[in-house]
Subunit: 153 residues, 2 copies
DNA sequence: TATTGTTATACTCTATAACTATA
DNA sequence: TATAGTTATAGAGTATAACAATA
């Protein structure tokens, strides 16, 4: 990870300072770093946590459905599920209604890790939002949700 | 790029919906896609545009200073500058004050591409923010700027 | 001693295309 | 015909560690 705390003079970023894309990028990198740090204990990445949450909230969901919900290709999901299965957190069961698809479930250990991870993820969020008041943090999430609803709605 | 416009039923993303990190990630992917689409004409990526802007706003800046300002390693900058130099957009000049470092400048073509790119980048931003009112878009950037100031301040 | 640019290397995340087995 | 899971492959983007030249 590059040095973000350096006491060097702040370089003028020019018109970048008015670009939403730039600030979204910086904020996302910051959020991922805080998330990863907060989740150390579980060794679960942001992407993996998304998958665990989808499965926890939709028992028996298929790999393709998880991929669609998270906005990635289903081929990308294979290795992710492989990793979670190898760690004993997720189980691929045969779907009772479609012999092509896997019904994904959390193992007991997966459920534990997920529940613990949810608390830790909230800690990461709090650190990311530490420069904002509670009200501002809520405002930010509300705006982001609205922005995103345009694409996955 | 995965299908984000599918008319499939929306899967319940559970507690993800309350995580700032999740929404930042979705928004950033959306913003990058819109940026890339808007910039097609220039064939300049978000990362490259950041570098062009830094150089435009700080003529003679060093590679290390660009890297620090953008929050990446200086080793990462080498290939980026190489690419921009090979396209004839950026020039590495010897620094007049430090024989270790390069003084980066935009070529005339680089200046042109940068100025055109800035307009196109704003178009990308507008598309990203299309679900928000003007006031909300400003609010969002303000909040993100405040959030980010905590790390690069 | 510290910093600049560089190289070599590797890792993560992701996409595309094609295959198979089902639906 | 279309979809689910899979494989093989490739491309961004990035980091770490080391080195020579210079500060």
């Amino acid at each position: 990870m590059p040095d973000t705390n350096s006491k060097k003079q702040n370089t003028n970023v020019g018109p970048l300072n008015d670009l939403m894309t730039y600030h979204l990028r910086r904020a996302q990198v910051c959020a991922f770093n805080n998330f990863t740090e907060a989740m150390t204990e579980t060794q679960v990445t942001p992407g993996q946590f998304g998958v665990l949450t989808l499965i926890a909230s939709n028992k028996g969901i298929s790999q393709s459905a998880v991929a669609r919900a998270l906005g990635v290709e289903r081929s990308t999901m294979v290795a992710v599920i492989d990793g979670l299965q190898n760690r004993g957190l997720v189980v691929r069961k045969p779907s009772p209604t479609d012999r092509r698809s896997n019904a994904l479930e959390l193992s007991d250990k997966g459920q534990e890790i997920y529940e613990r991870g949810l608390e830790l993820a909230k800690n990461g969020d709090r650190k990311t939002a530490s420069a904002l008041s509670d009200e501002e943090a809520v405002q930010l999430v509300t705006l982001l949700r609205k922005l995103n609803s345009a694409i996955d709605g």
